[in-house]
Subunit: 485 residues, 2 copies
Amino acid sequence: MGDKALVLLLVSLGVVAAPAGAEDLAEPYRETSREVLARAQADTRAWDKLAYLTTRIGNRLSGSPGLENAIAWAHEAMQGEGLEAVRLQPVRVPRWVRGRESLRVVSPVPRELPMLGLGMSVGTPEGGITAPVVVVRDETELEALGRAKVEGRIVAFAPDWEGYGRTVRFRSSGASWAAKLGAVAVLVRSATGRSIGSPHTGALDYAEDAPRIPAAAITVEDALWLRRMAALGETVRVTLQMEARLAGEANSANLIAEIRGREKPDEVVVLSGHLDSWDVGQGAHDDGCSCMAAWQALTILKQIGLRPRRTLRLVLWTNEENGLRGGAAYREALGAALPSHVAAIEMDGGCERPTGFGFSLARPGAARPRRGESQPAEPTDPGAVRALARVRQIASLFDAIGASAVRWGGGGADIGPLMRAGVPGLSLETVGEHYFDWHHSQGDTLDKVEPEDLRRATFMLAVMGYVLADIEPRLAPEPAAEPSR
Amino acid sequence: MGDKALVLLLVSLGVVAAPAGAEDLAEPYRETSREVLARAQADTRAWDKLAYLTTRIGNRLSGSPGLENAIAWAHEAMQGEGLEAVRLQPVRVPRWVRGRESLRVVSPVPRELPMLGLGMSVGTPEGGITAPVVVVRDETELEALGRAKVEGRIVAFAPDWEGYGRTVRFRSSGASWAAKLGAVAVLVRSATGRSIGSPHTGALDYAEDAPRIPAAAITVEDALWLRRMAALGETVRVTLQMEARLAGEANSANLIAEIRGREKPDEVVVLSGHLDSWDVGQGAHDDGCSCMAAWQALTILKQIGLRPRRTLRLVLWTNEENGLRGGAAYREALGAALPSHVAAIEMDGGCERPTGFGFSLARPGAARPRRGESQPAEPTDPGAVRALARVRQIASLFDAIGASAVRWGGGGADIGPLMRAGVPGLSLETVGEHYFDWHHSQGDTLDKVEPEDLRRATFMLAVMGYVLADIEPRLAPEPAAEPSR
């Protein structure tokens, strides 16, 4: 191996910075990046848009007037800003309706418990379900109890907090695990590390081979209380009442706008967030802030007059929270045109202080990683190694705000179908200090968003999107055109 | 002024430590204090008691079975521990019942708002009160609006957070301020700096010259949302439904136990917390932890065999939260025996990491300080200066755990009647980082209490109580025996 080859290898591995003469993707964009930063730092429109969305429109569950109002408002505003190819991509979405709901301890000491039914849950019969609660920390404890101790009871999953990725499995799968053993309903510790009596909702995922039983989130406080009562040998009886139901489907849409590419308009970089939210709080961090940052990123590039080589496409997805129909419809519509997609960015981790990006590049058709599955710290595939090094070069433009870290692993649920087909996927990463405190709860509101963080995210999405769309080489070789899945 | 007089003055002012030969109240108690610390650090019973109280009994509003269960349980347990003069002091308490309650935005975008009716509030008519909301930040803004813009409306107080002492006035007095201008109900920002969609209740105080209108706490998030809606010129209409009512009075009691004094059994130091709580959460920090720490402090002294010169009297007050009847009944029963009281300690600021004590000594009959009123950093009255210096000497025993700070100002609501009659009053002080995040909400639960903090509080209450009861000089001269008020 010659010296030059060694340098290139080390550069591609991100071990050394690119020396003069070697590829440095960031260098040609430093002045542009400074200009975008100045614009973003003076910007008040992203905030104004987020304030409108959260204050006037409010939360935005699929199938609700809130979501359709948000789409209509943003659609019109994008046209007013002169963005290109502004359009709606129709998507049918499930319509889940919460209805009235309550959870009451019947004995030994009656009281109301704060709760939120889990999204997509079935309801209870009128009059509710009254049964003793059996408390488990995890699926192993549940299995150990067996049908004899679970049948006819309400199972409460009261795990320790091991981070969202690991703890959310009880919300997703707990209902079906318990139903297979004859449980009549489940209560699940909210997937959060901090709580002030705050229930957090989120979707469950019924298995096909289990009865569908009602499921509700309880607070961290009450999950721990149930554990202590169980440890004392006390049986707690509760009445769970939920009117929740699936009310068919509704029309919705992905909202799309572009800056068309000046040289290769048919090659596309996607810049995105999801406009839908849960039906509590305001969907400010999840994911209104991201939508507004991505939108304003495009608007700022347009205002500056920057037109990248390829097309930069803003997509505000519908139905991330309870169906992922938006991402699926987009992939489906692409069909054999998939190789046109150079990269896809999704911001969906809230708008705390950004630290950089996450990056993934899967071999097409690779298995979907399971939630909470650990991932190697760095890639081994040579193509992924090269692409990651390129993203790190570009991210050096964010040194100016101390946000140039790029970790291996990242992406988003809506761009998942693209990523699994081999499209490079990126996510904006933040300090993630409080996101899951607020996520899916009444606490996810505008007052939790720092305007400065929103400005930084806007800058980073604009520059990352622009540079990926503009650099001469594709970030990674074309994924093969495979049939959509 | 001679040298010795100067030294004594400086010592009494706390400017210099007491030299050999001068008064040093702590010195004779260093070994005892170490012994109590060792006991408290090995203690698990304060925690077990608090776990029982919060887990098995739960919250404890005056007039509820919860409070009476707690009193009966503690009464029996104290007798079992061999504490002396264990007895109940009967107290009639108000019985306020929350009933069902809800708050719903009717327009422009319907949704349910998390809420908690304020304690002692009247209810709404059946079917609720539906009216437009007028939003103010404070009483000045309310007055500026005048009757024309307030009459027939629901006033929302949406102040900035200026700390509990200043912000709580809207909860206490807002209903009557608004009612005088014709408002039909009030909504009040919860008195907390942090929120995850968490309403906080607490007592209101109706003025005699205003109509009694229903009042409810809303979350910080919704208070800020209402402010933003008002700034946009949007009128929000809500329906408030509350079944709240005063249901007469109930029998309750202060629970008392003692270690009788070996020399002056008729002189008394009171060590206390309040056993009642609001009707949400578990009353863990407010004020279960304090009751269990004070109780266990007495038990540990008893177990060690320490019998102070004077009587050390544990009092677990009833009805601190919505009436202060326990403290009033105790003072009333004392009558002319008031001068027997050497000092009164109340812990009622939660059980975060202790930092020391607060201390007050009022001239008898001095005006009750108004909530939020600022207080001079140090006393000027020579008697108070001397007593404060003595408390600081004693508190040097808490250097061992970094908790020897004594600030001027302190005490507690239940010992207020004693303090206003001239009895020195002390409060245990903590870092106070999160107390008001949890206070009066579903978040005030056992999982928020650190066992180590409870052990430290137990140690400090035991030593402060013991030394105040044992030192040869009274902490301060006898207050005059004045008629009870």
